[in-house]
Amino acid sequence: MARQAAPARTFIALLLSTGPLAFIVHPSPAAENNQGAQLAAMCAACHRLDGLDKGIPSIIGLDENKLAGMMAEFKSDKRKSQIMGVVARSLTDAEVADLAHYLATRQKGSERP
């Protein structure tokens, strides 16, 4: 996650590197902390965000529309899963969209943060 945020931080660092504010910019280990990331943190209790799952389906790096579609099917019970049905029904469509977008950007082997 820190790796994904790096370009923006680098840009800020470049902006500041010659000015009086340069001292405030340090590479930060901070992860993304948006809604998608915070919801994905809840998924991480079962699904590894580095994709190295065993016995549990991996949810990272999928097309976000496909993932959102799967969640809609869990919500309507068209796709059967006791656990995922409960999870999907507790989220709004907007939350699912943010979550799917975030998870789609994750790559295997990358760790949170």
Partner: protein
Amino acid sequence: MNCWTRRQFGCLAGAACLTALAPRVAKAQAKSRVVVIGGGIGGATVAKYLAASAGTIEVMLVEPKPRYTTCFFSSLYLAGMRSFESLTHGYEALAQNYGIKVIHESAVAIDPAGKTVALKSGAKLPYDRLVLAPGIAFKFGAIEGYDEAAAEIMPHAWNGGPQTELLRRQLDSMEDGGLFLIVAPPNPFRCPPGPYERASLVAYYFKQYKPKSKILILDAKDSFFEQDLFQDAWTRHYPGMIEWLPGQFTGGVKSVNVKDLSVKTQGETFKAAVVNFIPAQMAGELAQQAGLADQSGWCPIEPTSFESKLQPGIHIVGDAIQSGEMPKSAFLANSQAKICAFAIAAALTGSDRFAPHLFNTCFTFLAADDAVSDAIALAPNGNTIKISEILISEVGEDAELRRQVVQAANGWYTAFTHDVFG
């Protein structure tokens, strides 16, 4: 992209950012400090997610033990289906990958006014926010004859570690035909299906190696979680081996005698070969000392931040809290810890907050190839936390589905402990 980054960028791109940023700069330079006491599931998760989601916060984790052994899945170890080592996790990754300062010492006192934590060595740790994850304490002395010394003879094994190993040794050395007696605690207690899962898995072990043995559960309660699932499984897998007696039938356990391994109820005395006495519980000791627990013995919290309702600036997560409809489980401790971490990050750094969601899933083994699960979604509702969705496995499910739950359960353990300690 990071919200923090966007905001910083917007400001930096503005013409007058130098002056406007000055207070934030000072704050960033000072670095807020959060001290987390307790390196179990809740504490380790808070520390990890705070360090991961807010790089401007210094996170210290105070935990005396060098390694943590999970209580969940420990009955698989009792049944010979998992190694003790597989249940044990270190803190190295939290220190190395997340920059958390792990201090292997006991916290002995909290000064909420001075915002410091005193360690056993005499050192004091100042904090901006404190998180307590003290777990549970046992009400020793509530039943005549059952105190800490008695627990070395009649183990509770309700904390992972030496107690779990002691109970395993006792079961190993028990002769075939003996009675294994479980005393099940009153509500609320850690892991509602736990005592009955333990009975199931020890029965699985007995069925293979000590088939003449029996299991008796003396319960303080008159019913228990997933009762229909357990009783169905006991009939199918272990006919005649497990007997459960509700509190209303026995009048409850009144005393124990460690000399002859007997347990006395209102009207009867039971002598056993091995006794697993799981006492009544309350919030961990430090929470009691610091005035964070109310008269119920548990800690009341504000449901969107897990900040104590009794001591502002101190947050509590895990089994020590009691709020609304939350059961006490490792899964929920992890879920609470993330909400708590995001709330603290927002308070200290101004990061964004969103509507909290809490989840709980318990995977429960009935036999080696038969497991069930429950799934619960919860959310803050007014001053408390309520269940919004719940589904539980049902009696009569297909055997293949139950085998799939076993596979999912084992995968979950790996992912979950990685989420906490990895």
